[in-house]
């Protein structure tokens, strides 16, 4: 695949740019300019502003220019005296690890198995995909019917009285089960779509060469799936960094369910608006995101060049 994509995009190279007529140049400028402007104003601009806000003690009411510069005060406070900070970082990492090591591989495995089979695939596919169309808030609620201590299904049939959503020993794992329930189907579908696109002749060629099914998959199919693998990776990282709705619905991200996103929200959206402190937490979140963004961009670039 890499070769064909590269071939189409590189062959005409610079000569074409020069050949664009005036109106065409305007068209291209608008086609890139308008979306760029929207994203610049609503995503990148605010991201920079957030970083800026984190160094000032602004109450949000008086003009920003009057607020005092406090330097790294809020960062120091976050990592030293804010009790939820380190648990939140830890929970986000666990979240990423579980999605990456359990939910995503499970989704890939079911996709491969479904692709391998022809019978009942529509049923399987639908069962796994249904949770994906639900919002995370709905997912949280549906699992509450399972996990509720006094009225939930799990305790109901096992006779346990474990407080799945409330006990901080269990609730992160309960939330992760609910997340996996949704994430797995999403990955399955992306992967299945990728597998369906693999040229059948490739597999047949491999078979002729005497490769077993497993070998065919790892030596032929998997490498060809490189773009899908990247998308799957990106989706997994997006979902785990942005994890928010689910824990917010469960208990507002407290008592064992702290995530960076919930701590940011608690400090800037709630009745308590601590813009500087919340922005400092948000900036830390942006920094962590950017590590993954850079990794991802590097993969994409290597893929394309």
């Amino acid at each position: 695949m890499t070769t064909s994509a590269a071939a189409t995009s590189q062959a005409p190279a610079k000569g074409r740019k020069a050949r664009l007529s005036g109106p065409d140049r305007l068209t291209v400028a608008l086609m890139v300019g308008v979306p760029t402007l929207v994203v610049l104003l609503l995503v990148w601009g605010p991201a920079i502003a957030t970083v800026l806000f984190s160094f000032f003690d602004w109450d949000g009411y008086s003009p920003f220019s009057e607020s005092p510069f406090v330097g790294g005060k809020f960062y120091t406070e976050a990592v030293t005296i804010y009790p939820a900070f380190w648990p939140a970082i830890q929970h986000n990492l666990i979240w990423l690890a579980v999605l990456f090591l359990v939910a995503t591989p499970l989704g890939m495995l079911t996709a491969v198995l479904i692709d391998h089979e022809a019978k009942f695939t529509k049923f399987y596919q639908t069962s796994f995909y249904l949770p994906v169309v639900l919002s995370m808030a709905l997912v949280g609620f549906i699992w509450q019917l399972m996990f509720s201590r006094d009225q939930g299904f799990i305790n109901g049939i096992t006779g346990w009285s474990i407080d799945w959503y409330g006990d901080s020993r269990y609730n992160l794992w309960a939330a992760l089960i609910a997340t996996t329930w949704r994430h797995m189907g999403y990955i399955m579908l992306l992967y299945l779509a990728g597998l369906k696109g693999v040229d059948q002749s490739l597999r047949e060629a491999a078979k002729v060469d005497g490769a077993g099914e497993r070998q065919t998959f790892f030596k032929v199919v998997f490498p060809v799936m490189a773009p899908i693998n990247i998308i799957v990776l990106v989706v997994t990282v997006i979902e785990s960094l942005r994890a928010f709705d689910l824990v917010w619905v469960i208990n507002k991200g407290r008592n064992g369910l702290e995530l960076i996103s919930t701590e940011v929200t608690r400090n800037i959206v709630g009745e308590a608006q601590r813009i500087g402190f919340g922005s400092a937490l948000a900036t830390i979140m942006l920094l962590i995101s950017s590590v993954f963004i850079v990794i991802y961009l590097r993969i994409v670039m290597r893929e394309d060049s």
Binding site: V39, L190, A193, V269
Partner: protein, 288 residues
């Protein structure tokens, strides 16, 4: 297609695994469905593992309590333009990235896709303050600013979703043979015509797939909607579940009914576009 291969132990094992997984995956939804059909007083007394107390009343109550009619309309007002505009803008970017090979292309794609990865919570305060300051004509928003206006919310959704769509679409567009463009150029087609009349029709499968995904995502979007809209009567349907979870009283069966009502449109779209969905997300480019 029918599978005529013999039932080897390996295949039986695969099906057994998939079947168990499917049942486990469907169970929570079916359980919610069952709960939504039960009378609260009955389950409160006898527990959920009992049988009996069946009723449809929860659906009627949920619909009325949460004002679903208006909320569905609101969701449509937000979702439809947001999805259409996202796809249009993303196609534009993807086309330029896929069609012309400039040094800036990768940076451009990175600019959009990275924006997709940023956490929305981290951007809230600046976006909020900006919307509060931006005055718009009253025919555009009855609040006079982008705050508490559908367009403000739509714009934010577009900004956040364009990256992913541009990424998927550009991957797909790269597989379109360059000879097509060359013959079009020989015919003197402008860039816009190449885009609109040549590329876009070819991109139907990924557009359909992305439309499904985007409708689901934007319809389910919750965070921006509750922060940027301020009138209860403008809230989209996802926020109305909160109306069912009373401050003082939570009727699980009622909320289950409400949840399923909210899920209906996305389920319907999935079933309607299921086929295009898998084929469209092929993401092109796997022909080796």
């Amino acid at each position: 297609m029918s599978d005529k291969r013999p039932w080897t132990p390996a295949r039986i094992a695969i099906h057994a695994f998939l079947l168990v997984m499917a049942v486990v995956w469907l169970f929570p939804l079916l359980y919610a469905l069952a709960a939504s059909l039960r009378n609260y007083a009955y389950t409160a007394e006898h527990g959920y593992l009992s049988t009996g107390g069946w009723t449809l009343q929860n659906y009627v109550n949920a619909w009325e309590t949460a004002g679903f009619t208006q909320k569905f309309i609101n969701s449509a007002i937000i979702t439809v333009p947001a999805v259409l505009l996202t796809l249009l803008l993303a196609s534009c970017v993807a086309f330029v990235v896929a069609r012309f090979s400039w040094r800036l292309n990768l940076a451009l794609l990175g600019f959009f896709t990275a924006a997709n990865l940023l956490p929305p919570q981290a951007l809230l305060i600046p976006v909020f303050k900006m919307f509060q300051k931006i005055e718009v004509p009253f025919w555009f928003s009855d609040s006079g600013t982008l705050l508490d206006s559908y367009w403000g919310l739509i714009l934010v959704n577009i900004a956040f979703q364009t990256g992913f769509c541009a990424f998927v679409l550009s991957n797909y567009m790269k597989t379109i043979p360059k000879e097509l463009y060359e013959s079009a150029m020989v015919d003197g087609a402008s860039v816009w015509r190449q885009f609109w009349q040549l590329t876009m029709p070819l991109c139907r499968p990924p557009l359909a797939a992305l439309a499904t995904l985007e409708v689901t995502w934007i319809y389910n979007e919750f965070f921006w909607a509750t922060v940027l809209l301020q009138s209860g009567d403008k809230y989209p349907i996802t926020s109305s579940l909160n109306n069912l979870r009373g401050q003082f009283f939570t009727d699980n069966n009622l909320v289950a009914a409400g949840s399923l009502i909210v899920a209906v449109p996305t389920l319907a779209i999935y079933f309607a576009l299921q086929k295009q969905f898998v084929s469209g997300l092929t993401l092109g480019a796997t022909k080796g």
